[in-house]
Symmetry: C2
Subunit: 221 residues, 2 copies
């Protein structure tokens, strides 16, 4: 079953012709490492181990549900329902006998904490989800030597909640700006969160993330 | 940098024509989840959070060193030296300023605990490394519908140390046996650890894992 997490590619990048891009398990792996790199002022206030577990399981339901992105137009409530049912199937039916059921229960608990988005830890991991997207975007732009402009994705920076992560993200967007300047081009997307975003991107962002459509508060790509 | 962990494929499978196989980050991701599925009798005796961290970082050095496998003939001491230097570069030079240096130090600590292989937790994660290989082997054999026989890799089952993981692995090898029987074929490799292994595979295993060559006690593929 785990196999499917790595054979299912993240859909958002496919629209830009990046077909050999990251799998869902790549995405969760990267998030777990980014979580560990948490700024110290925040790290001292959170339970890092819970955050790492959330990062590792938060998209696990997608191995059966598929990677539903904002442009697919699936209602958020429906996406959430499908994923919750899937997690019950995984954690109770498939893993119910593994580790006396404890392992499945712990995975479902971490998934639910992320989904509920009520704790500081889960807020942080939601921010890391956005941060991972920004960092991945930058890596793709650099590896394509400026031939692909992924500025559309920069709008997620506006939705980062914790000031420590916002600052971290601004640094990354400053790096992006410097990279494009170094090759003599101007990319779309705003340069960092302080500078606001252009009108078209703002409209697109509002439509995607109004809370009506899937992924409103927990999935950026 | 993290990008390279997912673009670098695990070499062991490539020899069998599986070119779109798992990346190093896929492998570490799967190990982190398998770690969480630890049998309860063992789970109650170990620090699971340390195990998860070890699983996530143990092969991180490979993003720069490359995936050296037993057949490459690099001395274990040399592999270890290269990887340790790489981890220092990653954790001190690159991450020295991230999180006040704490994040890098914690990653190096987890990597070193795995490398030293002296704690119960690190022994467990070494066993999980072997368990992940066995499970991946089974998935590849099934997805190729019995056209590829990966029995060569079953020998790692003999090197699992903890009885709880050995038992888990025997179940997986029993599943393998049942799968091949269901398609009317007989695979190479032994069926489970209790039944011993055939002479040729034993010889191959001894050569690979004599301790002289790289990966003797910490890398199975």
């Amino acid at each position: 079953m785990l196999e499917r997490l790595k054979t299912t590619k993240r859909e958002g990048w496919r629209r830009f012709g990046i077909n050999h891009g990251e799998s869902i398990s790549d995405h969760m792996y990267r998030m777990s490492i980014i979580t560990m790199l948490c700024p110290p002022s925040l790290a001292s206030r959170i339970d890092m181990n819970r955050c790492i577990k959330m990062a590792l399981v938060h998209d696990m339901a997608e191995l059966l549900v598929g990677d539903i992105t904002p442009v697919d137009g699936v209602l958020k409530s429906e996406k959430s329902r499908r994923e919750s049912t899937t997690m019950d199937f995984l954690c109770k039916d498939l893993l119910g006998n593994v580790g006396g059921g404890d392992a499945g229960a712990e995975i479902k608990r971490a998934w639910q904490e992320y989904e509920d988005s009520e704790t500081l830890e889960s807020n942080f991991v939601h921010d890391v989800d956005k941060m991972e997207l920004i960092l991945q975007m930058l890596e793709y732009e650099k590896s394509h030597e400026g031939r692909i402009d992924l500025g559309e994705f920069t709008h997620v920076a506006n939705r980062i909640v914790l000031p420590e992560v916002k600052q971290w993200c601004d640094q990354a967007l400053d790096d992006r700006k410097a990279y494009w300047e170094s090759i003599g081009k101007t990319p779309t997307g705003y340069q960092n969160a302080e500078q606001g975003q252009d009108v078209e991107k703002k409209k697109m962002s509002d439509e995607y993330y109004s809370g009506q459509y899937a992924n409103g508060n927990h999935k950026e790509q």
